[in-house]
């Protein structure tokens, strides 16, 4: 469903964040992008929904080119995104944050008056129930804990009724317990709704127990593509080089 061809991204003409990435992702797949800090994980995910414009190569979403401006809104509507820093609107309440996932489905005039169709509100409430936050609907987003904020982020993505969810280091700012919960929610969404999920992570230990596809990224290139529990120390060396940064965690 996602086809990435020879994707490159260079910042300021000198920083090569991505260097000819080729990747094919099937509908319903759960894929983990693994790589050290600065490997280009965020850049890769942000190229998929057009938040970053590639300097070379192409990205297709179900055959539609992301580079084509007229496809962009539709592709984004069908693509949920979850961020390391949650990126909730802090001064809005939880429900309003989740309803942000419905903006693209509604007209500018009504939504700017903060009016939403009843089905959308029901859907948002249902999404909050799935992430276990039914009791926080009217709390302001900045009153939540990190794990709760990330669950609101997931609910916002779910409210889009997406075909794919891109999660950019969704657990990097969380304690281990919340991190496990968040990854479990993502796995459950993948299993129950058959939504394609692409997660970037930089800890190895979080993923060994999942028998999922692992794509290793190192300095903007794909250096590995295999199933998670086959991962051995040699593979880890390939991804992290001699940085061994994962050992400190």
């Amino acid at each position: 469903m996602i086809t990435i061809k020879e994707l490159s991204k260079t910042f300021n003409r000198s920083v090569h964040a991505l260097n000819g990435v080729n990747l094919e992702i099937e509908q319903g797949e759960f894929t983990i992008i693994l790589g050290p800090s600065g490997a280009g994980k965020s850049t890769l995910l942000r190229c998929i929904n057009g938040l970053e414009r590639p300097t070379g190569g192409e990205v297709f979403f179900n055959g539609l080119s992301v580079l084509d401006a007229k496809n962009l809104r539709f592709i984004r509507q069908k693509t949920g995104m979850i961020f390391q820093q949650f990126n909730l609107v802090k001064r809005l309440n939880v429900l309003q944050n989740v309803l942000c996932g419905r903006l693209a489905y509604n007209g500018v005039l009504t939504t700017c008056l903060k009016l939403f169709p009843r089905e959308d509100v029901d859907l948002a409430l249902h999404c909050l129930e799935r992430v276990g936050l039914s009791d926080k609907i009217y709390n302001r987003a900045d009153q939540l804990s990190g794990g709760q904020m990330q669950r609101v982020g997931i609910a916002r993505a779910l409210a889009q009724r997406p075909d794919i969810i891109l999660a950019d280091e969704p657990v990097a700012s969380l304690d281990p317990r919340s991190a496990d919960q968040i990854l479990d929610v993502l796995l459950e969404i993948n299993r129950a709704d058959n939504i394609t999920i692409l997660v970037s992570l930089h800890f190895v230990h979080l993923i060994k127990r999942y028998a999922k596809r692992i794509v290793g990224l190192h300095e903007g290139k794909i250096v590995l593509d295999k199933i998670g529990n086959d991962l051995d120390d040699g593979d880890i060396n390939i991804i992290y080089g001699d940085k061994k940064e994962y050992e400190i965690y």
Binding site: Q77, F83, A104, R156
Partner: protein, 278 residues
């Protein structure tokens, strides 16, 4: 020179208290800082000469001040009924002036924020407009509008509105440029349209500050409305000017008291609103 430099290097290595600076510490910056200090002192001295700053003149002038103040007291309460109308008019001018300013500053401010402005040309144009509006004093605007639409409070509203739009718009543009781009990215990523991103990700982030500043501007506008009354743009300022011309010091004192009372009320109201919003 060399001696000082070596001494500084030695200090840098051995001192128990060391400067922690933005960039790598560089002994040369010590001389640069001295240079800046000399430069600033020169400017201060130059301005003092230019404005004839003198303690002696001030001491001599104290008698004049005391003389006027004694002639102002007690305020002439008999004119109170006549002055109530113009005072309320000044409040009305400040209210509509501020509302006009807010209405004008929102589109200008949105265009004047680099991160959401649709085009660099629009960005530069609105920055230019905002700078012009701020550069021209409000009395001048009031004068222009008095000439255009005649004497009375309406040109006052226009003058106040246009000149405060400059400050509010610039502030809005700067505030938007400084917001956290994360929520904006997140909303763009859902496919939301530009106006939706502005309403849901930009507005909530800047609203408290913008409301605070608008209220503060309202207070300023109340005082400005008294000044622009002097050029015939209505309100209490017009009365103030008349009593000044006729040397009616006691009436002037009453007008100043009235202004003080209103400023206090405006200040109280705006701090209540501010608390509600934040």
């Amino acid at each position: 020179m060399k001696y000082i430099r070596n001494k500084l290097k030695w200090l840098q290595k051995t001192a128990r208290i060391v400067p922690v600076v933005q960039n790598k510490y560089d002994p040369k910056s010590f001389f640069k800082n001295i240079g800046w200090a000399v430069f600033l002192l020169t400017i201060l001295w130059w301005s003092a000469v230019g404005t004839n700053l003198s303690i002696r003149t001030l001491r001599g002038g104290m008698y004049g001040v005391l003389d006027i103040v004694s002639r102002m007291l007690p305020p002439d309460m008999a004119s109170l009924p006549r002055l109530i109308g113009p005072t309320l008019e000044t409040i009305q001018i400040s209210i509509w002036g501020t509302i006009l300013a807010i209405l004008l500053s929102i589109p200008l401010g949105l265009l004047a924020a680099r991160n959401i402005s649709p085009h660099p040309v629009l960005y530069q144009t609105s920055r230019l407009i905002l700078n012009t509006l701020r550069a021209v004093p409000d009395v001048i605007f009031a004068l222009i509008f008095v000439a255009a639409v005649g004497l009375g409070p309406f040109p006052g509203v226009l003058g106040i509105g246009i000149s405060s739009a400059g400050m509010l718009g610039k502030f809005l543009g700067d505030a938007i440029e400084n917001i956290d781009s994360g929520p904006m990215d997140a909303l763009k990523a859902t496919g939301a349209k530009k106006m939706q991103v502005i309403t849901y990700a930009v507005a909530p982030q800047i609203l408290p500050e913008f409301v605070s500043l608008s209220l503060f501007r309202w207070e300023m506008n109340f005082r400005a409305s008294t000044i622009i009354g002097i050029v015939g743009a209505g309100g209490i300022g017009f009365e103030l000017m008349t009593s000044m011309r006729l040397f009616k010091y006691k009436e002037m004192a009453l007008i100043l008291v009235l202004i003080l009372v209103i400023v206090t009320i405006v200040d109280t109201i705006s701090s209540i609103i501010r608390k509600r919003i934040i």
